[in-house]
């Protein structure tokens, strides 16, 4: 099963490598990882998406907790949470598809962030399903390049966080 794990860590050099090394050293796969500073510049928050059965996830969360720089580990999967991802997608539509491309972008509340005579670059944010759907609809228009941020996630307010 896919799990979204939120990780509060000390904002020090080498921390990302410790976390990533923990996964690679044990043969666990990271599907996506995003990281950034929190309100406290000494602390960063990582959102990691990974796969595994209960036993593997238990090991992952325990091992993460064991890292000296990790302050808190929360598995968001089984609690109500909001998650978002952003993509930048560069489309090279044929002249007759240009209007359709813009229409699809609008459906997904995408924004055109760059355009050239032959391309549109569209920014779309949303949960995984929305992103996947947008990519599928835009694929026939001719995708030249695509970049994804990886997921960021946060628990919904009023929900007690389950600390691991």
């Amino acid at each position: 099963m896919r799990h979204t794990i939120s990780l509060l860590v000390e904002n020090k050099f080498g921390v990302l490598s410790r976390v990533a090394g923990l996964f690679s050293g044990r043969g666990f796969n990271i599907e996506s990882l995003s990281v950034g500073e929190t309100l406290d510049p000494q602390i960063s928050l990582m959102t990691i998406v990974t796969q595994g059965d209960d036993r593997i996830i238990e090991q992952i969360t325990k091992q993460l907790n064991k890292l000296i720089d990790v302050i808190k580990v929360v598995d968001l999967t089984e609690m109500d949470h909001v998650e978002r991802e952003m993509i930048l997608i560069k489309i090279t539509p044929k002249p007759e598809d240009r209007a359709e491309t813009l229409r699809i972008a609008e459906i997904f509340r995408g924004r055109i962030v760059d355009s050239s005579p032959r391309t549109y670059t569209i920014q779309i944010t949303g949960d995984e399903k929305k992103i996947e759907a947008a990519i599928e609809l835009l694929r026939p228009m001719g995708i030249k390049e695509l970049v994804r941020t990886g997921k960021v996630a946060i628990a919904r307010e009023g929900v007690k966080k389950r600390e691991m």
Binding site: S17, Q59, K66
Partner: protein
């Protein structure tokens, strides 16, 4: 007053009550070594290789319970410590490694003797640091000692760039440190401990499975009390040997791949396993699916990641073994010991039968020295009053089987990593910690050659280490596997008789003493002579090269699916049982 980084470093070590450093100098750590030249309180043990220094610090830590300290230069000096660091990491040994680093402005520029040791050592240290600012030296060193010695201990590396040790700053040693993300759990959950006590009371066929955690947390007394009071037999891992007296009637010796028949049978047939500071290593469990099918498992460990990593656990207790056992014993103390004896009678009788059925034995030979006989004789002549280190392989397993360890911290052996070349430098560390104790390294001819250069270290410091080399001209354990599972194709395990050095001459070349025994009758006189000599001694025992370690659980087998040597299959042959 402002001090240089090197001076601050030395002051910090003194604050941590360090009196011995194992190390090797080099360009970027000369600021520190220059100060050590005149220092009366810090003794530097110059080894001949940085791996030797790290194993020596590890041996020092295991024997004394104090952290071991290593100081090496950058680049190759630092990378040479990696095997020693990984060794200490696998066995949870508190070692602090200080490595020199090129000046901060050169880091990342492929400077001469630069290596990213922080990156290299990350997966095999408990934590590591690169000191980028001289003002951080003191607090980092304080943290390094704290992290290495608390919770589940382990090695911590501190990388010190040359300009940091050369610069000047105020010296303020922090009284306290607070690492918000690091708070090991020491006290076990009361309710879980109560559950454990209930399970122990209910069990009819319980076994204690004690590991290195018992020794690391100095919980031997509590373990002995628990076992004696509740009459539960104790099987130990390699790392746990000495945690419970090997000559006690409740001792089952070592369990696992080369464990005793009775330890493995007891574990397999048990209805309750009380795992204490042990981590269900694959060498212990054999095939996990077949491990102790009817047993409930209580698992006490300070490291939550050890629990449920390999086997299912019914009652997990996270905490320091000593504290948890104290609490558990407190609950159990009201039960009357005699009642336990009655309840356990049938189970202990069954175990005695297993002990009689297949004791640890070997076939005696009048003409060829059996390696087990050498270990037996060492035990007999030292009366078990020695610190024994081992190398890795057959010598290690025979030592675990045939030497009865009475006390904790008397067996120093590379358990998790299985590092050939560990025993001799570890013996140096142990002898430095305890100059008056008898320290013996039991080695193979393959292993001893991995760090044989440390003879110089031993001799120059007038250490009286005795090295018993079980010389069979083979990488014995590799040969054993090839014989049993690779149709006797001894691919590169034969060291060639003419290429195994004359260990007597090697010893003499370094200023040590070399002795040799070729016949069983010469074994005892050689050991006695070695014990008499006040110098480092190599004892070269020409042993039977065909000898194998039995019992053995073949890879993929369950713990009770052992294979035995001919000598134990054919009782009509002349057997020599271990006393």
């Amino acid at each position: 007053m402002k001090l240089t980084g090197a001076e601050i470093f030395i002051e910090c070590l003194k604050k941590e009550k360090v009196d011995t450093i194992f190390g090797y100098p080099g360009g970027v750590v000369l600021n520190i070594f220059d100060l050590l030249y005149d220092d009366k309180d810090l003794r530097v043990i110059l080894t001949r290789h940085e791996q030797g220094a790290t194993h020596a610090a590890d041996g020092y830590a295991r024997a004394s319970g104090k952290p071991g300290v290593v100081l090496v230069t950058s680049g190759p000096g630092a990378t040479n410590t990696v095997t020693g660091i990984a060794n200490a990491f696998m066995d949870s040994i508190p070692v602090i490694i200080f490595s020199g680093q090129v000046p901060t402005k050169l880091i990342g520029n492929d400077a001469f003797q630069e290596a990213d040791i922080v990156g290299i050592s990350r997966p095999c240290t408990k934590y590591n640091y690169l000191v980028k600012d001289i003002r951080d030296i003191a607090s980092i060193i304080k943290e390094a000692f704290h992290i290495a010695t608390s919770g589940r201990p382990g090695p911590v590396l501190v990388d010190l760039p040359k300009d940091v040790t050369a610069g000047k700053s105020e010296f303020i040693y922090p009284e306290e440190i607070n690492i918000r993300s690091y708070n090991p759990t020491y006290a076990g959950n009361r309710w879980q401990i109560k559950q454990a006590a209930v399970a122990i009371a209910k069990a009819r066929k319980p076994v204690i499975y004690a590991g290195g955690g018992v020794i690391l947390s100095n919980a031997s007394e509590e373990l002995i009390w628990l076992a004696e009071h509740t009459q539960i037999p104790v099987a130990m891992t390699l790392m746990g040997l000495g945690g419970f007296p090997g000559d006690d009637s409740l001792s089952l010796g070592m369990l696992g791949m080369h464990g005793s028949y009775y330890a493995n049978m007891a574990i397999h047939n048990s209805d309750l396993i009380i795992a204490i500071g042990a981590r269900f290593d694959d060498r212990v469990t054999g095939r996990v699916e077949g491990f102790a099918p009817d047993a409930k498992i209580i698992h006490i460990d300070i490291d939550p990641t050890s629990i449920r990593k390999n086997v299912r656990v019914d009652i997990p207790i996270v905490g320091d073994v000593k504290l948890v056992l104290k609490d558990l014993n407190e609950i159990l103390k009201d039960e009357v010991k005699e009642q336990w004896s009655e309840i356990r009678k049938a189970w202990l009788k069954q175990i005695d039968e297993w002990k009689r059925e297949r004791p640890l034995t070997y076939a005696w030979d009048e003409d060829i020295i059996k390696p087990q006989f050498v270990i037996e004789k060492i035990y007999e002549l030292t009366k078990g009053d020695a610190i024994i280190t081992t190398e890795v392989g057959q010598n290690q397993m025979w030592t675990a089987q045939f030497y009865k360890f009475h006390k904790p911290r008397t067996l120093l052996s590379s358990g998790g990593l299985g590092t050939m070349g560990y025993g001799f430098p570890a013996a140096i560390g142990a002898q430095i910690a305890f100059p008056d104790k008898l320290v013996i390294d039991i080695a193979g001819d393959g292993s001893i050659q991995m760090n044989i250069q440390e003879l110089a270290t031993a001799v120059i410091h007038k250490l009286k280490i005795k090295v018993a080399i079980l010389n069979n001209q083979y990488l014995g354990m590799v040969r054993q596997w090839q014989e049993l599972f690779f149709r006797e194709r001894y691919s590169y395990s034969y060291l060639h008789t003419e290429q195994v050095p004359d260990f007597v001459k090697v010893a003499e070349a370094y200023g040590a003493v070399g002795l040799r025994a070729k016949k069983p009758s010469e074994v005892e006189p050689v050991i006695k002579e070695a014990l008499r000599i006040k110098n480092t001694v190599f004892m070269d025992f020409f042993v039977d090269w065909r000898e194998k370690v039995f019992p053995m659980v073949p890879a993929g087998g369950a713990i009770h699916e052992m294979i035995f040597g001919e000598e134990t299959k054919q009782p009509e042959k002349k057997l020599k049982a271990v006393k």
